[in-house]
């Protein structure tokens, strides 16, 4: 059953910056409509992994990627139309990057890049995405003010709304909660649980408890090696497959 519902299939993914290899052959499948979390200490290659997924790795000179990543059966490392791929994947960065545009234009950015110009369509998308990101009520009266003038937590929700604006099939969140307060974090987590019905979510997080709360399955990445992938209950149980996993999630490690 699992085999047919894979949305991302990754085989022996290796990534090197210059001569330094940071991902040593990661192999995994991510299922459709699951929340898949990636945990691991700093410098484990979590962010690099996400960069490979939407091919923004291309813009880092000296980065070399090998292996295969198939998204819906398409080998994206050899793909020509990377813009189509990036529209399929929504990405949320650790620190909110509000583009220096109005709130409306921030959310309408991706649809506009994709060629949508009808004002009414754009307004509809903006409203839907802002509602999905639990930001609509706070900003609906000032959609024309600068997005960068919002507070940190609001900006982060703005970037989530923006990531949803091109109706992605996969949403990647890279430590989305490090700049925002716990209350907002919980609100966004509720949003993610809601979104799970429609899209696949990949969640990179430093908060192991967040992974435990949200994720269906969890991968433990350590220094570029995939230590363990399993159902979240097992990863956080007393008897995960690997001793290091137990030590990491219980804070003994490092």
């Amino acid at each position: 059953m699992e085999q047919t519902t894979n949305t991302i299939e990754i085989e022996d993914l290796r990534l090197a910056y210059g001569v330094k290899e940071v991902l040593h052959g990661v192999t995994l499948n991510i299922h459709r409509n699951e929340i898949f979390s990636i945990i691991g200490p700093a410098k484990s290659g979590k962010t690099s992994f996400l960069r490979c997924l939407n091919r923004t790795i291309d813009f880092i000179s000296q980065a070399t990627v090998s292996g295969t990543i198939r998204v819906d059966g398409e080998d994206i490392l050899r793909l020509k139309d990377i813009y189509h791929l990036r529209r399929k994947i929504g990405m949320v960065a650790p620190l909110p990057v509000g583009l220096p545009l109005s709130i409306f234009d921030n959310v309408a950015f991706a649809p506009r890049c994709a060629g949508l110009t009808q004002k009414t369509d754009l307004a509809e998308i903006v409203e839907r995405c802002l509602k999905q990101a639990a930001l609509w009520d706070e900003v609906k009266d000032r959609l024309n003010t600068l997005g960068t003038a919002l507070s940190g937590g609001q900006q982060q929700r703005l970037t989530i709304a923006r990531a949803l604006s091109h109706q992605p099939e996969i949403l990647c969140l890279d430590e989305f909660s490090i700049a925002i307060d716990p209350v907002t974090t919980m609100r966004i987590e509720d949003v993610l649980k809601e979104l799970r019905k429609e899209i696949t979510i990949i969640l990179v997080t430093n908060l192991t408890q967040q992974a435990r709360r949200l994720a269906d399955r969890t991968m433990f990445l350590l220094n570029g090696d995939c230590i363990e992938i399993d159902r979240t209950e097992i990863i956080f149980s007393d008897t995960p497959g690997n001793r290091k996993t137990y030590e990491y999630v219980n804070g003994i490690f490092g």
Binding site: Y83, R86, A93, L95, L99, A110, C113, R162
Partner: protein
């Protein structure tokens, strides 16, 4: 033993002395820095004061009328029977040639800055930057010479105009002179846009060109405007090249192929011939004041524009 004691005694004496010297030195440096900062204000005011003082006697002359000075097109400062000091044609000459130069230089300058900062590879980037700096290092008299000979002949053979030194010639020469400034400053402005903006836009599926005009241009607009303004400043103030390339005829131009004279070129050409203390001499200084006010107006509007953008 004795020697050791001696050095111990000497050291405490030396240390306070050094500290005093260090403090005094620091104060001195601070004073010099402060002076050089304030000097900019003093120089500007002093220049304005002296230029205006030289111009002042003209207001008490019988032949002078401020309204005619600003809005009359007739410039006959050495006429024996009917002296006329109308600078309107010169002002229009300066403005039109600056406008034309910017019309050419801004698209080219911004275009190459965008290319250098966003599209080309690192090796090409280095060589392009060096070449553009070389372009900035060419003295203005050499540009004027190129206008007078090469450009002039080209314009005559292409357009069939009777004279090659005209508005078009001067505009192109001035544009070439302003491009290096515009390129290097706007490239800096684009470089200052955080990479995270580029990455965010990329992740949203934007193409490189979409990143440029949807993200980079709005983000860098202040710096880009500053670049354009410095270009304008260069074009308004340039003297030697326009003196050689524009034909130096006092008239309001009706087309690109008419010769013009600018305020700057007029001063440069006539000041040497005007006898010190004559009306002609004073009126040339007043032209200088006019030029000063013109550039001041340009800078002020730019300032307001930038503030307007910021508030938005």
């Amino acid at each position: 033993m004795n020697k050791e004691v001696n050095t111990d005694i000497v050291r405490p004496k030396q240390i306070p002395r050094r500290a005093f010297a260090a403090i005094a030195g620091e104060k001195l440096i601070e004073l010099i820095i402060r002076l050089s900062g304030v000097s900019a204000i003093i120089f500007v005011l002093a220049i304005f004061f002296f230029v205006f003082r030289e111009a002042l006697p003209i207001f008490f002359s019988d032949h002078f009328d401020l309204f005619k000075f600003l809005f009359n097109t007739q410039w006959y400062p050495t006429s024996a029977v009917n002296v006329r000091y109308g600078t309107f044609a010169l002002t229009v000459g300066s403005i039109s040639i600056t406008f034309l130069a910017m019309l050419i230089a801004v698209p080219f300058g911004l275009g190459s800055a965008i290319y250098i900062s966003e599209f080309c590879g690192p090796k090409q980037k280095e060589s392009l930057k060096i070449i553009i700096e070389l372009l900035a290092a060419i003295p203005s008299v050499v540009w004027g010479f190129i206008g007078l000979t090469v450009m002039s002949r080209m314009i005559i053979s292409i357009t069939g105009a009777p004279v090659g030194v005209n508005l078009l010639n001067g505009g192109i020469i001035l544009a070439l002179m302003s491009v290096p400034i515009i390129v290097s400053i706007s490239e800096d402005a684009l470089k200052a846009v955080p990479d995270s903006y580029r990455e965010a836009a990329l992740a949203l599926g934007a193409t490189r060109w979409q990143i440029v005009y949807r993200v980079l241009l709005p983000a860098a607009k202040n710096g880009l405007l500053a670049a354009v303004l410095l270009g304008v400043g260069r074009a308004v103030g340039e003297t030697m090249a326009v003196l050689m390339a524009t034909g130096h005829a006092v008239q309001i131009p009706h087309g690109l192929l008419d010769s013009v004279r600018t305020l700057t070129a007029n001063i440069a050409a006539e000041l040497g011939e005007a006898s010190v203390g004559s009306d002609h001499y004073h009126v040339l200084f007043l032209t200088g004041v006019l030029l000063f006010l013109l550039t001041f107006a340009v800078n002020l509007t730019a300032d307001f524009v930038i503030r307007g953008i910021r508030r938005k």
